[in-house]
Amino acid sequence: MITANSLTKQFGPLMALRGIDLDIRPGEFATIVGPNGAGKTTLLRILATLSRPTHGHVSIAGHALPKGADEARRQIGLLSHQPLLYGDLTAEENLRFFGAMYDVPNLNARIDQLIDQVNLADRRRDRARTFSRGMQQRLAIARALLHDPAVLLLDEPFTGLDPQASDRLEQLLHTLNDGSRTVVMTIHDLERGWALCTRALVIARGKIVFEARTADLDAATFRSEYRRVTQ
């Protein structure tokens, strides 16, 4: 579903990614962890078609980038630590706008369904800027899922959420982890990342330095391996 070969990204003298190879299969939930500045967000921005690699090849759902970027974008939903919403539009207007951009069929029904799913039915006509951080993040999930993407990219989605909002988001992500879509998530919280995923990758200094399937390893071993490879 997602493949990357020899991916590098350079910002001036800084080498953010140093030859990343990825092969994430359909239905996998991959968590990418690593210290600050390791290259997690840079990698996710490249996978989201928001940034071009300096070298290397990326393919999303069979569409090679950058040539197939438009087709790839139809398959991608992005949830970031920023809600990526228009604060002066209502919840419904935000979804209606993005639905128009994605040509979502039966948009009204889809909006109703998603707003119910993220528990925002009673606030659908309120402006997004009046929402709490947790509510904004739930609305952001509805935006990311609006066009029913096959690939969901989550860039540190728990950042800034209080424990209750984090738990609610985790429950929502669990419901998405049904094998019907491929999920790639960057996160700082090792325990939460491990609990959600089917496969974990550790990135450090722009390289993938460790990876394991949750079926093959326990959380404690993964944590100690993480400490070893990121030292």
Binding site: S51, S80, P83, D88, M101
Partner: protein
């Protein structure tokens, strides 16, 4: 049709957002009125030919008010990260360009609808003529179009407030100069043949700049 519907979705979103926040229109409007008042006091408008300074004053106000609007139109979206969500949409980048450009051009039209009567009052000149309105429309389209491209480039930099006017004003000089000459030609009551070359330059600027922006916007929005 789908292309135009998506352009309209962006324009509509910008209009609704601005009508609710009034961040851009209020700053552009207040700035324009203050500068017109400043000009009215600074220039001796009792001179026989107020028309010699009025076209330049008009286009100075439009140019600087436009910079204020252009600085706001994308920076707020980029600061909040929403522009990334827009870039993620499976649409040709030119849809985003034309949507954003049409939005800022509409806002500039709103401001111009306010400042033209003020110019009539303070300069006592017949600004409300079809020819002048056509020149204002053409000048605004070219200026707003290239301004949208350059504000996108500047919005990702730390010095965007400084960078936008530094980039925009030199490039827009042909359009501003042509607009001033055409406006002066109409106000002086000269025949179209006398200023048709400037009018041609204004139209050519619009076509070339909109065409160039259409072609390069894809590269400008990628990091």
């Amino acid at each position: 049709m789908t292309y135009l519907r998506k352009v309209w979705a962006i324009v509509r979103k910008d209009l609704v957002t601005e009508l609710r926040s009034r961040e851009m229109l209020s700053s552009m409007g207040a700035f324009s009125v203050l500068v017109i008042l400043l000009f009215a006091f600074a220039f001796d408008l009792r001179v026989a030919k107020a028309g010699t300074v009025a076209p330049g004053a008009l286009w100075s106000v439009i140019a600087f008010a436009g910079i204020l609007g252009l600085g706001r139109t994308l920076s707020a979206e980029i600061d909040r990260g929403v522009f990334d969500a827009l870039l993620l949409a499976p649409v040709d980048r030119s849809v985003i360009f034309f949507g954003k450009a049409a939005g800022i051009i509409l806002f500039m039209f709103v401001i111009e609808a306010v400042i033209l009567p003020l110019f009539v009052i303070f300069f006592n000149l017949p600004f409300f003529q079809p020819a002048i309105i056509l020149i204002v429309v053409l000048g605004t389209i070219g200026y707003g179009g290239i301004g949208t491209l350059l504000s996108t480039m500047a919005a990702n930099t730390r010095l965007r407030e400084v960078l936008l006017p530094v980039l925009l004003l030199p490039i827009a000089i042909p359009a501003l100069l042509a607009a001033v000459k055409c406006t002066a030609g109409v106000l002086d009551g000269r025949a179209f043949e006398d200023w048709s070359n400037w009018f041609g330059l204004l139209v050519a600027f619009d076509l070339v700049m909109l065409g160039a922006a259409f072609l390069v916007y894809d590269f400008v929005v990628e990091d």
